[in-house]
């Protein structure tokens, strides 16, 4: 187990470097430059800019410097947010996105697992059909439709919640978190139902029932542990997907998180910021996947690494 963890942690380094290299290559292969705009710059100004940002050096020197920066975890200054180091932008934006993402995922887990478990226990009942239909709608409804619809309905018609404002942990979080979590809620409910249906038919549940345990104990202590394995293995890719979802939701609700910065960085060709965010997110995704795999081994004794 320990060897497995160490190996995975070590493999993170080359993976992140590959991702960062691909990104850097894409940025450099694209036509134009961050300082090219509507107006043509005087040659002297252009030369000065190129010199200041080291663009006059051979490409391998620049590439090497970028890799070195990534390894040291210091990405230099942002080009759009002048004078701001990428790291301080990350330090501001990461907690925002993490709070939103974590809240959305916890919400999705609570609602999804509850709904899925009840649906499995009452298989083929009216509740089962209704919740699974709702789940399918949740999967099909894009969150850029759901979000603005919720805003129009709850915020602009009924004035219940603010449409878009970010001030940390407050009621303003409700709309973005719900919008972000809808899809995951739906997936988790479906996975829980499928997993529970399979487990509830297995022998060890029959044994537990035969021992005379209460239905509550059978479900909570025995069935859920096995039935939630699909949810656990879904969580790895889901947390990675969540990052794509946050980009859209952050755009809709004007949340100053990673996604918003990432889009702006791309539109402005802010190379250090793009590289910094991509590197950070890659590391985060890999670590989350590792955590999920470890959790899997802890919950399911059949899994050995």
């Amino acid at each position: 187990m320990l060897r497995f963890i160490v190996r995975r942690l070590l493999s993170t380094v080359p993976i992140v470097l590959v991702v960062v290299s691909i990104t850097w290559g894409l940025i450099r292969m694209a036509p134009g430059n961050f300082y090219t705009g509507e107006r043509r710059l005087p040659p002297a100004v252009e030369r000065n800019i190129r010199e200041k940002y080291g663009l006059d050096r051979p490409w391998y020197v620049q590439y090497g410097r970028m890799l070195g920066n990534t390894v040291r975890g210091d990405f230099g200054n942002s080009l759009t947010y002048e004078g701001q180091p990428v790291n301080s932008i990350l330090a501001n934006a990461v907690p925002v996105s993490a709070l939103l993402g974590a809240l959305a995922y916890v919400l999705a887990l609570i609602v999804g697992i509850t709904a899925g478990t009840i649906a499995a226990l009452k298989q083929n009942s009216r509740y089962d059909y209704a919740s699974m239909a709702a789940a399918l709608i949740g999967i099909s409804l894009p969150n850029f439709v759901l979000g603005p619809a919720l805003v129009a309905w709850l915020a602009l018609t009924w004035y219940l919640l603010p449409p878009a404002l970010w001030n940390g942990f407050s009621v303003n979080l409700i709309l973005p978190a719900v919008t972000l979590s809808a899809v995951y809620m739906a997936y988790i409910a479906r996975l829980t139902r499928a997993g529970m249906l399979e487990v509830l038919r297995s022998n060890y549940i029959r044994t537990a029932r035969a021992k005379g345990l209460s239905e509550r104990a059978v479900v909570m202590r025995h069935a859920l542990r096995g039935g939630l394995l699909p949810v656990l293995s879904f969580s790895g890719p889901a947390l990675a997907m969540l990052l794509a979802g946050t980009i859209v939701v952050e755009r809709i609700f004007a949340v100053p998180g990673l996604g918003n910065y990432f889009i702006n960085a791309n539109l402005n060709r802010d190379e250090p910021l793009i590289i910094g965010i991509v590197a950070f997110v890659s590391i985060a995704v890999i670590l989350m996947n590792l955590l999920v795999d470890i959790a899997y081994a802890v919950v399911d004794p059949r899994v050995r690494y």
Binding site: I22, L141, P142, F144, P148, A152, R193, V285
Partner: protein, 316 residues
């Protein structure tokens, strides 16, 4: 019974039911899947046939902007310029006075096209990659699957965003082609894994041995014998890939990185609609619901095909 009839010399071959016929029968009995197929058929037909019909009858196209200045405004559904009931614009108009129905149908063409072409791209890459890895086995397989594992842990959305925002922004058509390739290139991983698994379970069976004994080349065995036999799970996964790719396209278009004007897709129309959600809600409602219904139906069809091809897989 069946065995005895099969050995009798008959002039006509006994009509057996193939896997596909059985699957088709089961699919037809699945109400949700049939509903989904009908809805998708309607939406596809409307997207293909609708725009020319609208253009012939009313002259509206997706980029037709009225010449009268008083019409350069958003009209609610079924409303004429004077506020009375009118059949002119069943979905209303957008902020420039363009007919929203024509735009939604035209957007449907692009969205469906992105879904189909990108899925095809991912299918081709996934089939070739997975079949090669599975058939060759050993070190090659291990290395190829290691690469897939690594690619899985990449935040591919971010790479796609980088790609789309830096390249091809000047030509709308170039952006569209880039979109096909980018979306196809990031969604082949699971396909490759499925194909590999299938190929590994098939490659030691007798018919492959027979093919090899008769001197069929490796590529021939892969293309003619192995890949056709993996089609069941591949079709299931491909039908489920179409809606997920369409959703990705819509995300990107919503962010302004996908389909560029003058083209429109459901995602870019929704993005336009969100700008004025409080005043002109129908501009988000129609493209948004059309898209949601389409994705909903496609998911039903995919689930239905999965259940039909493998009745024992029935789970969720």
């Amino acid at each position: 019974m069946a065995a005895t009839t099969a050995t009798q010399p008959t002039t006509e071959p006994v009509a057996g039911t193939s896997l596909w016929q059985d699957a088709w029968r089961r699919l037809q009995r699945n109400k949700l899947a049939v509903t989904g197929m009908v809805l998708v058929a309607i939406i596809v037909t409307a997207s293909l046939a609708g725009p020319p019909i609208i253009e012939r009858t009313t002259g509206y196209t997706y980029d037709y902007i009225p010449s009268e200045p008083e019409l350069l405004k958003a009209l609610p559904p079924f409303t004429g310029p004077d506020g009375s009931f009118s059949w002119e614009h069943p979905m209303g108009t957008d902020t420039s006075g363009r007919d929203l129905l024509a735009r939604v149908l035209l957007g449907g063409r692009i969205s469906l096209m992105v879904g189909l072409i990108s899925t095809f791209v991912s299918l081709m890459i996934g089939l070739a990659y997975g079949a090669t890895a599975g058939y060759l086995g050993g070190r090659v397989d291990e290395a190829m699957m290691r690469i897939v594992d690594v690619l899985y842990s990449i935040p591919y959305m971010m790479v796609v965003i980088v790609l789309l925002s830096l390249f091809g922004r000047n030509t709308p058509l170039g952006q569209l082609v880039l979109l096909f390739i980018a979306l196809g290139a990031v969604s082949w991983l699971t396909m490759a894994r499925i194909v590999r698994g299938q190929v590994i379970s098939l490659k030691n069976q007798e018919f492959i041995l027979a093919a090899r004994a008769t001197g069929v080349s490796t590529i021939g065995i892969l293309a003619r014998h192995l890949v056709p036999n993996t089609l069941g799970p591949v079709i299931v996964y491909a039908t489920l890939t179409i809606p997920s790719v369409m959703l990705l396209e819509a995300f990107l278009s919503f962010l302004g990185l996908g389909v560029q004007a003058p083209y429109a897709s459901w995602g870019s129309l929704a993005a336009d609609g969100v700008q004025s959600i409080a005043i002109f809600p129908w501009q988000l409602l129609f493209p948004g619901t059309t898209m949601a219904i389409t994705l909903f139906s496609m998911n039903f069809i995919g689930d239905g095909i999965r259940d039909a091809l493998d009745p024992q897989m029935r789970k969720s």
